[in-house]
C-alpha cells in the first residue's frame, strides 16, 4: 500500500471514520431496541406495584395483571393536593419515578402518584416511595387497605445495596414484616413505620431493620416517613370527603 500509515493525516482520518461508523451503528441499535427496553422497565414497575398488593406477576404477564387490578390513580403535589390530569391518569402516574422525584427535584416540586387497586372486592392504595440507601437509591411500594391505615403489603428494591446486608430489604424476610402494621397511631396521627434495630419491643408501627445494614435501614426509615406523610395528609382529606364512597 502506498498510504503512509504513520502519517498524521491517515491517523486522523482513521479516527474520524471509526467514530462515524461506531456512532451510527450504536444509534441504530439503541433506537431499534428502545421500545422493547421501555416496555421492560414499565413491566418491572408494574410487577413491583402488584407485589405490594400481594399479586405475583412475571415480567411477561405484569402488563395484563396490572390492568386487571389497578383501577385508578391520583397524582399529588407536595401539599398533598390532587393534581388535575387531563390524559389517562394511570399512565401518567406510571411515568413518575419516586426515586428521581426525590433525587432531582426540590421538595416543593415533587409529585406523588397513588395507585388505587381492587383485589378480591376490597380496595388497596399503593404508595410509591423513594429515598437514599447506603450506596445509591432505594425505592419501594407500600399498599394500605381500605382503612387507609393498615399495611397490606410492601415491596422494596434498590440499585446497589450490599448483597446479604442492605440488599436484604428486597427480600420477603424484610418485606413481609410490614403486613398488618399501621401508619397512624390510635389517635389517627401519622407515625409512619419505623425501621428499628432488631430485637426491640414489638410495635404496630415498627419493623426490624437489617443487622449489618444500618445505613440502608435508616434510608428506608427516612423514605417511609417522608413520602408517606404526604399520602397520610391526602388520606385524611379523602376519608372526610364522601366522594370516596
Amino acid at each position: 500500500m502506498a498510504i503512509n500509515k504513520d502519517s498524521n493525516a491517515y491517523t486522523i482520518i482513521f479516527a474520524i471514520a471509526m467514530c462515524v461508523v461506531v456512532g451510527t451503528s450504536l444509534v441504530i441499535v439503541s433506537q431499534t431496541l428502545k421500545p422493547v427496553q421501555e416496555k421492560n422497565v414499565m413491566n418491572d414497575k408494574k410487577q413491583n406495584i402488584l407485589a405490594a398488593i400481594q399479586v405475583e406477576a412475571t415480567l411477561q404477564d405484569a402488563g395484563t395483571k396490572f390492568e386487571q387490578y389497578v383501577k385508578d390513580a391520583v397524582i399529588l403535589d407536595a401539599n398533598s393536593q390532587a393534581v388535575e390530569v387531563k390524559t389517562d391518569v394511570i399512565a401518567e402516574a406510571l411515568t413518575i419515578n419516586a426515586l428521581s422525584e426525590f433525587k432531582d427535584k426540590p421538595a416543593t416540586d415533587r409529585r406523588y402518584p397513588l395507585f388505587i387497586c381492587e383485589k378480591d372486592g376490597s380496595r388497596f392504595f399503593v404508595m410509591p416511595v423513594g429515598g437514599q440507601g447506603l450506596w445509591a437509591g432505594v425505592w419501594g411500594y407500600v399498599a394500605v387497605g381500605e382503612d387507609l391505615n393498615t399495611i397490606a403489603g410492601a415491596s422494596f428494591d434498590h440499585k446497589s445495596e450490599t448483597p446479604g446486608l442492605g440488599a436484604e430489604i428486597a427480600t420477603p424476610f424484610f418485606e413481609t414484616q410490614f403486613t398488618g402494621k399501621k401508619i397512624h397511631d390510635d389517635n389517627g396521627e401519622f407515625v409512619s413505620i419505623r425501621v428499628v434495630k432488631p430485637g426491640g419491643p414489638k410495635s404496630d408501627h415498627a419493623v426490624d431493620g437489617i443487622s449489618g445494614g444500618t445505613f440502608t435501614s435508616v434510608g428506608v426509615d427516612e423514605m417511609l416517613m417522608r413520602c408517606m406523610s404526604i399520602y397520610s395528609k391526602y388520606f385524611k382529606t379523602m376519608s372526610k370527603s364522601t366522594a370516596l364512597n
Partner: protein
C-alpha cells in the same frame, strides 16, 4: 507461556488444524484467563452469586472476546499504530454497549442484577489482552477461535463459582430450590440441619473459591507450578 502468540500460519492450513484447536483448548486449562493469567477476576467475584447471572455474564464476555478479536483482526493491517490501543478500546466499548442494550431488551431481570458489571466488561483485561496479544498479529479465523477459547475459559470458572455459591449460599440452582426446603434451617424450620451459608453470597468467598480452584488445578497440572 500464557501470552504466547501463535506464529502466522500458512494459507493452506485448515481452520480446525491441531494448532488452531489448541487455541480453544489451551485457555480452558493451561492458560486459563482467570486461574492462570489471573485476568478478569473482579467480575468473576462480583456476578457469581447466582448461576443464571454467571451464565449470562460468561456468554456476554465470550461474545465480546470473539467479536472483539474478529473485528480487530480484520482491521489489523489498517489500524494506525499510534492510536491502536484507543481503537481497541472503542471497538470493545462498542461491542459491550451492544451487548448491554440487547440484554436490557431481552433478559431484563438478569440485566438488572448484573447492573454495572455488563458495562465493566470493557475493563475486563481478558478482552484487551487477547486483542493486543493475539488478534493484532493473526488472521480473523484463528482470532475468533482464540476469543472463543478465552471466553469459554473465563465462563467455566464463572459457572463453577455460580454453582457452588448459589447451591450453598441459597440452596438453589438457577433460582430453583435444589436443597429440600425442610433441610434448611430457619426460624420457621428449626429442625433443618443445613444453615444457608451467608458467606457464600459475599464476594470474598468467590476469591477463596478461585483460590481453591487454582490449588486443585495446579495439583493436577504440575507444569503450571513456577520454578523457584
Amino acid at each position: 507461556m500464557s501470552e504466547a502468540t501463535a506464529p502466522a500460519k500458512s494459507p493452506s492450513e485448515g481452520l480446525f488444524s491441531k494448532k488452531n484447536r489448541k487455541l480453544i483448548t489451551d485457555p480452558l486449562n493451561d492458560s486459563n484467563p482467570i486461574t492462570v493469567q489471573v485476568l478478569g477476576i473482579c467480575s468473576a467475584l462480583a456476578v457469581t452469586v447466582k448461576l443464571d447471572n454467571s451464565v449470562v455474564m460468561a456468554a456476554s464476555v465470550t461474545a465480546v472476546t470473539i467479536m472483539g478479536n474478529f473485528f480487530m483482526s480484520l482491521m489489523r493491517n489498517i489500524v494506525p499504530n499510534r492510536i491502536r490501543i484507543i481503537v481497541q478500546l472503542v471497538v470493545v466499548a462498542w461491542l459491550v454497549i451492544i451487548v448491554d442494550q440487547v440484554l436490557k431488551a431481552y433478559v431484563y431481570d438478569v440485566s438488572k442484577s448484573l447492573s454495572v458489571f455488563v458495562g465493566l466488561i470493557i475493563t475486563n483485561c481478558i478482552i484487551m489482552g487477547r486483542i493486543e496479544a493475539f488478534a493484532l498479529g493473526n488472521k480473523p479465523g484463528p482470532s475468533i477461535l482464540d476469543g472463543l477459547g478465552n471466553g469459554i475459559g473465563y465462563g467455566i470458572i464463572l459457572i463453577f463459582l455460580g454453582i457452588v455459591r448459589e447451591l450453598f449460599g441459597s440452596g438453589k440452582l438457577w433460582n430453583a430450590q435444589v436443597l429440600p426446603a425442610n433441610w434448611i434451617y430457619s426460624m420457621d424450620n428449626p429442625d433443618g440441619w443445613y444453615v444457608l451459608n451467608n458467606f457464600m453470597i459475599m464476594p470474598p468467598m468467590a476469591l477463596i473459591l478461585v483460590g481453591l480452584y487454582i490449588w486443585a488445578q495446579r495439583a493436577r497440572n504440575t507444569k503450571l507450578i513456577e520454578a523457584h
